[in-house]
């Protein structure tokens, strides 16, 4: 079993690119979740409004 010592994040050339790739991945997920959250908020607001109208 080869365990690396600490995951030295080499701030040399290679590290930048790897970081960029992982950041892209995370960014996609987070943006997606944010959009979903915004939609949820809107649905919730409309539902509340509907419930209020109904009484």
């Amino acid at each position: 079993m080869t365990w690396l010592a600490a995951p030295a994040l080499p701030l040399d050339e290679a590290g930048k690119y790897v970081a960029a790739a992982y950041v892209v991945f995370l960014a996609l997920i987070l943006i997606y979740v944010a959009i979903m959250a915004a939609k949820l908020v809107r649905i919730d607001r409309e539902l509340t409004q509907l419930a209020e109208e109904d009484e």
Partner: protein, 233 residues
């Protein structure tokens, strides 16, 4: 309706992805040829595999939709394709980063998987203008399913053709066939792949639930508006 099992799925996704990232940076050994840059592989390839799987799933859901006429299948198909496009964008961007880091260019035609991916991505991008250019909702769903099936059949053909073409002209430069991976790398890769699959399914269910809720809401509003019109004040 679509949200069954969403919470445990989400938890499983977080756990698996965290484990995957830990493995990538703490466990997997450095690649002899490419060094640290090779670690992009653990993000890029699982994304590609899952995106392609998503496209094919979209086609299968399309078949279910055409056979049953149940609009729920069309929704599943739409969301699968939608998610796969987003993942596909990620594949192309991470692929470009990898190419730049390894070869100095953001794009290389020598890598058949990347090229095939570009073609598939371009094709599936047309799904949305096609879909929204058809006004009748039932017809829209039906034609979208037809497209999803056709495009799904296209994906394996495309990969075969591009690979055959590139194999003759250029040697595969970024060949990372699963069979050649040493044990630690393979484990890391599999965990990353599992995480990506879980992520896809979780986000898929999430989007399905959100869309379904929005549709129900619209239906409610419409019905109330109709009822108000039907009853003279």
């Amino acid at each position: 309706m679509f949200s069954k099992g969403l919470a445990p799925l989400a938890i499983a996704t977080v756990v698996t992805l965290t484990a995957a990232f830990a493995l990538v940076f703490f466990y997997a050994p450095l690649d002899a040829d490419q060094g640290f840059v090779q670690k992009i592989f653990y993000i890029h390839v699982p994304m590609a595999i899952v995106a392609l799987g998503g496209f094919v799933a979209g086609g299968i859901f399309g078949i279910r939709h055409l056979r049953s006429g149940d609009a729920a299948w069309d929704l599943r198909s739409y969301v699968a394709i939608h998610l796969s496009i987003i993942l596909g964008l990620g594949v192309l961007v991470t692929g470009a980063i990898w190419a730049k880091a390894s070869w100095g260019h953001y794009w290389v035609w020598d890598e058949p998987v990347l090229v095939s991916f570009l073609v598939v991505f371009l094709l599936y991008c047309v799904y949305f203008p096609l879909r929204f250019a058809i006004e009748d909702p039932e017809r829209q769903a039906r034609y979208s399913s037809v497209f999803a099936i056709t495009a799904g059949a296209f994906v394996p053909l495309n990969f075969t053709a591009v690979r055959l073409a590139e194999a003759l002209t250029h040697p595969r430069v970024l060949s990372q066939t699963g069979g050649d991976l040493p044990g630690e790398m393979r484990l890391t890769f599999l965990v990353a792949l599992a995480g990506m699959i879980l992520l896809f399914v979780t986000l898929w269910k999430l989007e399905l639930t959100a869309k379904h809720a929005a549709m129900q809401l619209k239906k409610l509003r419409r019905r109330r508006a109709e009822r108000r019109e039907a009853v003279p004040a």
